[in-house]
């Protein structure tokens, strides 16, 4: 008779321990296994969150740990919510969010729709399109800084070729009106492949039999697109919007590398502003309140989005 590894382990377990384990219910044993993960989650996620909320009501500065910490109540929140500079930062973030998500979803879906067609070199094109997503945001930031150079940058030459303008006459990252678009273009270039992959998964999950049935019913390609493709790919599209929305709300590295938040404060997104308050001005209490405001906003948006996603999936 063969002895299984479980039997061997059981045989080596001291009889006292074995007796005690046998006395445990299934529920207790399950909790013993889950406890380390729960503890880790509490320590890494929940404790810092509670600590941040507590700090947001104080004037604590992490670079002056020996100073007395005063309870300031809602003063930090009041300062943030009446500061026109923070308000401008929120608007810059809104501009970045709305345009990147719109462009990425539109271009990503079109690319996925085209790649989903059966043609020669399909896999090669998918790999080429996905390439920007594999790069580090710091590399992409540097790369686009060179592309946007007014004297030698390829981007200015392409624009000049189509418009007839002098390539050196405009600077994408030095102009207050163009810089917000410069970060939108770079982020769209980098993350559209991600949206494309999610949409491609959605399109490939639609069974061919549905299209065949529609063909039998003489439905036009246009009608098939609006009544089969879009509704069945919608949960995937919504998932892509959720992922990109949360990620872009926290956008930091690419923008810092590309514009550093300038010129002026035109591309200072909330995460960049928050980092400056926390680790350059060392206003820990103030930046904690800032972080709580951003957290509540993202959490609220994610909650209603997940609810909408579940409703779409139920249909």
């Amino acid at each position: 008779m063969t002895v299984s590894p479980i039997d061997r382990v059981a045989a080596k377990t001291p009889s006292g321990v074995a007796r005690r384990i046998k006395g445990f219910s299934d529920r207790t044993i399950a909790w013993i296994f889950v406890a380390p993960t729960v503890f880790l989650l509490l320590a890494v996620n929940i404790f810092p969150l509670i600590w941040t909320i507590r700090l947001s009501f104080t004037n604590f500065r992490v670079n002056r740990p020996n100073n007395d910490v005063e309870w300031v109540g809602l003063r930090n929140y009041q300062r943030i919510l009446t500061d026109p500079d923070v308000w401008n930062t929120m608007q810059a973030t809104a501009h970045f969010l709305i345009w990147t998500i719109t462009l990425q979803v539109l271009i990503g879906f079109i690319l996925a729709f085209l790649i989903n067609k059966k043609f020669k070199g399909n896999d090669m094109w998918t790999t080429i399109i996905v390439f920007p997503m594999m790069l580090s945001p710091a590399v992409v930031g540097n790369f686009w800084t060179f592309l946007y150079q007014p004297q030698i940058g390829l981007f200015n030459y392409v624009i000049a070729f189509f418009t007839g303008a002098d390539p050196a006459s405009f600077s994408m990252i030095g102009d207050v009106h163009l810089a917000p678009w410069a970060i939108v273009i770079a982020d769209t270039w980098m993350w559209t492949p991600f949206v494309m992959l999610i949409c491609l998964a959605g399109l490939r999950s639609i069974p061919d039999s549905i299209y065949e049935a529609a063909e039998c019913d003489r439905a036009s390609k246009w009608r098939q697109f609006w009544t089969i493709t879009i509704p069945m790919a919608l949960p995937f599209l919504m998932l892509a919007v959720l992922f990109r929305g949360i990620e872009n709300f926290k956008m930091f590295d690419l923008v810092v590398q590309l514009t550093g938040g300038g010129p002026g404060n035109t591309t200072t997104l909330t995460s960049i502003d928050l980092k400056r308050e926390a680790f350059e001005k060392w206003r820990t209490g103030y930046s904690s309140a800032y972080a709580v405001i951003l957290f509540v906003t993202v959490f609220g948006l994610a909650s209603i989005y997940v609810k909408a996603l579940n409703k779409v999936k139920e249909r």
């Binding site: 919510l81 009446t82 308000w87 929120m90 608007q91 405001i293 906003t297 959490f299 909650s303 209603i304």
Partner: protein, 66 residues
Amino acid sequence: MITFLRTFISSLLQFRRGSWEMLATIMIALGVFMLMQPFLLGLYSYSFIVTLVGTVMFIIVSHFPE
């Protein structure tokens, strides 16, 4: 419209999840709009409290019966 409002209010009074969730969703969306709109600083100042109330309400009412 009046019928919809009447149904909506009566289901709010009966603590039904659907209507309360809708109210919480509207509050969150309104709060986020107020936070990021470029028109009035006053709206921006009250955005956080609207979003916070909406989010807390959403968490509570998601445990209400259907």
